[in-house]
């Protein structure tokens, strides 16, 4: 149940927060999720946030990129030395790493209070 709640909260955060507020609010929110929904190890918290963020940003950008027939993805990928598809993956990994670490931070902070 906690995992489902975690998944849902991170997914909603990654989808709505960057559209309507400031992008880095995803950090504090993911940390709060890690802090308030404690289960398993810190690494599980990291992994769930990482995967969900990767999927949400990866799919969102994947759809945009393919609707655009990869024109922009390929061009911007070229700036960073990767393919258009590589850039979609990087966008997902980028979100995953940021929120994963934020959730892990929240989770590890919670561990301190457990004592």
């Amino acid at each position: 149940m906690k995992i489902i709640l975690h998944i849902a909260l991170i997914a909603l955060t990654l989808f709505f927060v960057p559209q309507y507020t400031i992008w880095w609010y995803i950090g504090p929110i993911a940390a709060l999720v890690g802090f308030l929904i404690p289960y398993g190890k810190t690494f599980s918290s990291f992994l769930i946030s990482f995967l969900i963020s990767f999927i949400v940003w990866g799919i969102s950008t994947g759809i945009l990129a393919s609707q655009n027939e990869m024109i922009l993805a390929d061009r911007v990928g070229n700036i960073f030395g990767v393919s258009g598809f590589g850039l979609v993956l990087i966008t997902g990994l980028f979100a995953g790493l940021l929120t994963g670490l934020a959730s892990a931070s929240g989770h590890s902070l919670r561990q301190l209070f457990k004592q």
Binding site: G27, A31, A65, Q67, N68, L98, L101, S105
Partner: protein, 806 residues
């Protein structure tokens, strides 16, 4: 342990978020704030979505009536308005939709405000442009425009700017053009001053060339006799735009050695010498259909987004189609239902330098003729992204800025008088606005009267059968020879005496030869009574006049071929001499093969051919060997090497000229020795490549169409297109035909055009470079010159936008 883990994680997370929230400079490059940049909903990914869709309706209180815009499949907007004022408001809006970032960068570049965006790497260009006086004089020019323009034409400039700003104001941050996100800045409001600056920028490119410092140093060092033989003013082979019966040019007397000095100043970067163009019009008597045909291809730096923006403007009074520079209202090169016009650059030298006679040590007052004048000191702040601003003091005199200032006693400070910094006597943009509605030759001439900078050969044809060409613009009235060298004194004699009157400007109207044309060559034959010097083409003008004279029953297809003609007379002028003087007795089989290629070559710079590579390398090696003496001088002084055409003339006519000797060797070389050495060098360079299948002219002379930021990822580089700077298809590096247009006049004009880019400035759009491949192949699009809103002749599925008065 837990504490350590938590501390590390929290620190790492915070650091990562902080890192991704700010832009960073790595070397010369600025990385955007990655978090926002990668944000799929607001970052660069959002640029994959078009912010405006077909069917959208906008309401603006700047409009007096409804305006409809139909956009064709190439992204060309066709604006249907009830009056010009409404049309130009919408032109501003639509141009901003497609080219906002380009408009901002162009005006910033002219104003010297690039460092504010790109940081220190743009500082040198900014300080130079400020010193030229671009921003200072553009502000004054705009004030003058406001004084001189009619209320109607003033409102045009205003409406256009308002249109651009209307677009900016409705822009959601996620829809900011891609480059704003990449380079981390926001659009500034568009001002009328920015249109003025964009005119200044074009003038800088087209009439900013001069070599007063270089020529003066050379004359002072070499002495008049040697200078005259290496740097003559007139090419006897040239074919002027307006020829006269007299073909003999007499060299202008040179100043004596007492009248010139050397200067240790570094020359500043000059505009690219390949900025030029072709235009011509043929009478109905020379065409198959009996209708006049007008052609134009301006050669400029070819960039993405493209320098030109295609548009049609339709009102009850005006129906015009053509291209303009983003930031300039109306149409600059184009046609309407009655006439067509096109431009090429005139290339007269309109910059003079004078030593300034300071009257005090602090350099605040100076002698100006009989008067003592104070310089206007302008504290000029250049903002730099991420750094403290750079502040320089500009000193402005009665006739222009102090361009060169010396910090030691050896050199005198120099004032630059540049035509572009002179105040206009007319509202200059009205020329193009008047041409948009011109109906005949008289209207064309009337429109040209208000034109000033940058001077252009404006060609004309109309449906009544008239053709004409006018060397148009403001030209200083000079004494013979004046302004070629730096003047040591500033006197009433060596100041400009006003301007050449409009009616005395070189001009051809329905000439007997039944064509008019220009390709940046000298404007006139020797009988023209007014002195000018400049930077003239020596090959395209000749071949254009030859080819047009030989043509008859001309069709539009013939004109397309002529615009894409790859032949150059430089091969005809030089190659026979090279082959004749090459010692061919000891050649190996590869060398013999090279010679065979050259013997079989027709002088066309075709991309599949290897012969032009061999010739071009041979010629460039030879040219290098010829001017080693000048290279020695270049270590201490700003000096230029002699022109190609004169190098060729000297090789042919004076092979024993002392300057053909290579200084470093004990032997006494002649031009013939250099020809043989240069061939040997060429062989060494080419022996491994010459038989490779891919190695040909197209590969060797490839073209880069670069994004304005020069980022390769946003550019289309290494295009193999053929052509040569001295051929009508004038391609060199990133320079070349930036727009090709052919218009056949008649009951209703039929027109064709293409440019190396696309209408959209958005790198995510298929229209970003959609015309480029056709351009590279020498193909054209039929231009959809619509008769009205309901014209369906082109069977195009137009997208539509509606602008309503609110």
């Amino acid at each position: 342990m837990k504490y350590i883990k938590a501390t590390i994680l929290i620190a790492l997370t915070t650091a990562l978020f902080a890192l991704c929230s700010k832009p960073h400079t790595i070397g010369d490059n600025t990385l955007p704030a990655l978090g926002q940049f990668f944000n799929p909903f607001e970052g660069f990914w959002a640029n994959t979505q078009e912010p405006i869709e077909s069917g959208d309706i906008f309401n603006f209180d700047n409009l007096s009536a409804e305006v409809q815009v139909k956009t064709d499949e190439r992204g060309v907007p066709h604006i249907f308005a009830q009056n010009m004022s409404d049309a130009l408001f919408v032109q501003g809006f639509i141009t901003a939709k497609d080219r906002l970032w380009q408009m901002e960068i162009t005006q910033r570049s002219a104003a010297g405000k690039l460092a504010e965006v790109f940081g220190e790497r743009a500082l040198a260009s900014d300080t130079h442009n400020r010193r030229l006086g671009n921003l200072h004089y553009a502000k004054k020019r705009l004030v003058k425009w406001h004084e001189l323009a009619t209320d109607e034409s003033k409102s045009y400039l205003e409406q256009y700017a308002k249109g651009v700003n209307a677009y900016i104001n409705q822009l959601d941050p996620k829809d900011l053009p891609f480059e704003y996100k990449l380079f981390n800045h926001s659009p500034v409001a568009f001002e009328q001053l920015h249109s003025t600056l964009i005119v200044t920028k074009m003038a800088q490119r087209l009439c900013g060339r001069e070599e007063d410092l270089e020529s003066t140093n050379l004359l002072a060092i070499l002495g008049p006799e040697l200078f005259q033989s290496l740097y003559p003013e007139f090419d006897p082979n040239q074919s002027p735009i307006i020829a006269d019966s007299n073909q003999t040019f007499y060299e202008t007397p040179l100043p004596t050695l007492d009248e010139v000095d050397t200067y240790s100043y570094q020359a500043y970067e000059k505009p690219n010498p390949s900025n030029g163009s072709n235009n011509w019009a043929v009478s109905g008597s020379k065409t198959k259909s009996g209708n006049p045909i007008l052609c134009n291809d301006p050669h400029l730096g070819m960039t993405l987004p493209s320098v030109w923006y295609e548009i049609q403007i339709h009102t009850p009074e005006v129906n015009v189609y053509g291209v303009t520079l983003p930031g300039i209202p109306g149409v600059i090169i184009g046609f309407n239902e009655d006439i067509a016009w096109g431009v090429t650059n005139v290339s007269h030298d309109v910059t003079d330098f004078y030593e300034i006679n300071w009257l005090d040590e602090a350099k605040t007052s100076y002698q100006y003729l009989d008067e003592i004048k104070q310089v206007e000191s302008v504290q000029d702040t250049i903002w730099i992204a991420g750094q403290d601003p750079f502040i320089q003091t500009l000193k402005i005199t009665e006739i222009g800025p102090v361009m060169f200032e010396s910090d030691h006693a050896g050199d005198q400070d120099l004032i630059m008088r540049w035509l572009v910094n002179e105040m206009p006597q007319t509202f200059e943009l009205s020329t193009f606005l008047d041409l948009c509605k011109a109906k005949n030759y008289e209207d064309y001439r009337a429109a040209l009267r208000s034109y000033s900078i940058p001077a252009q050969n404006i060609v004309f044809a109309d449906k009544h059968g008239d053709i004409a060409l006018t060397v148009t613009g403001k030209f200083p009235l000079k004494e013979t020879g004046q302004g070629r060298f730096i003047h040591k004194t500033l006197t009433a004699e060596n100041l400009w005496k006003g301007y050449i009157p409009f009616d005395s400007l070189p001009h051809a109207y329905n000439p007997e030869q039944a064509f008019v044309g220009s390709a940046n060559q000298r404007s006139t034959g020797p009988n023209y009574p007014f002195y000018y010097n400049g930077f003239f083409d020596h090959y395209r003008g000749r071949i254009l006049n030859q080819k047009l004279a030989a043509m008859d029953d001309i069709t539009v297809e013939d004109m397309m071929q002529l615009q894409n003609d790859e032949e150059s007379l430089i091969a005809q002028d030089l190659l026979p001499t090279l082959l004749e003087r090459l010692n061919q007795s000891d050649l190996n089989s590869t060398q013999k093969g090279m010679i065979e290629h050259l013997q079989n070559w027709n002088g066309y710079y075709t991309k599949e051919d290897i012969a032009p590579v061999i010739f071009s390398k041979w010629w460039s090696n030879l040219y290098q060997l010829c001017w080693d003496e000048i290279e020695v001088l270049q270590k201490d002084y700003a000096v230029n090497k002699p022109a190609s055409w004169n190098t060729i003339a000297l090789i042919k006519e004076q092979p024993s000229h002392p300057y053909f000797d290579i200084v470093e060797t004990p032997e006494k070389e002649t031009a013939n020795d250099l020809i043989n050495q240069a061939f040997e060098q060429t062989y060494t360079e080419l022996q491994d490549k010459i038989n490779l299948e891919y190695y040909n002219w197209g590969h060797y002379w490839s073209t880069d169409i670069q994004h304005l930021s020069k980022l390769p990822a946003l550019s289309r580089n290494d295009l193999e297109v053929g052509g040569y700077m001295h051929a009508l298809k004038a391609i060199r590096g990133s320079h070349g035909p930036s727009w090709r247009m052919i218009v056949e006049l008649g009951d209703y004009p039929k027109a064709y055009g293409v440019y190396p880019g696309g209408q959209s400035g958005n790198p995510a759009s298929p229209l970003y470079d959609s015309n480029l491949d056709a351009w590279a192949e020498g193909e054209y699009f039929e231009l959809q010159f619509l008769k009205g809103l309901d014209d369906n002749r082109f069977e195009t599925d137009y997208s539509t936008l509606t602008f309503k008065k609110s």
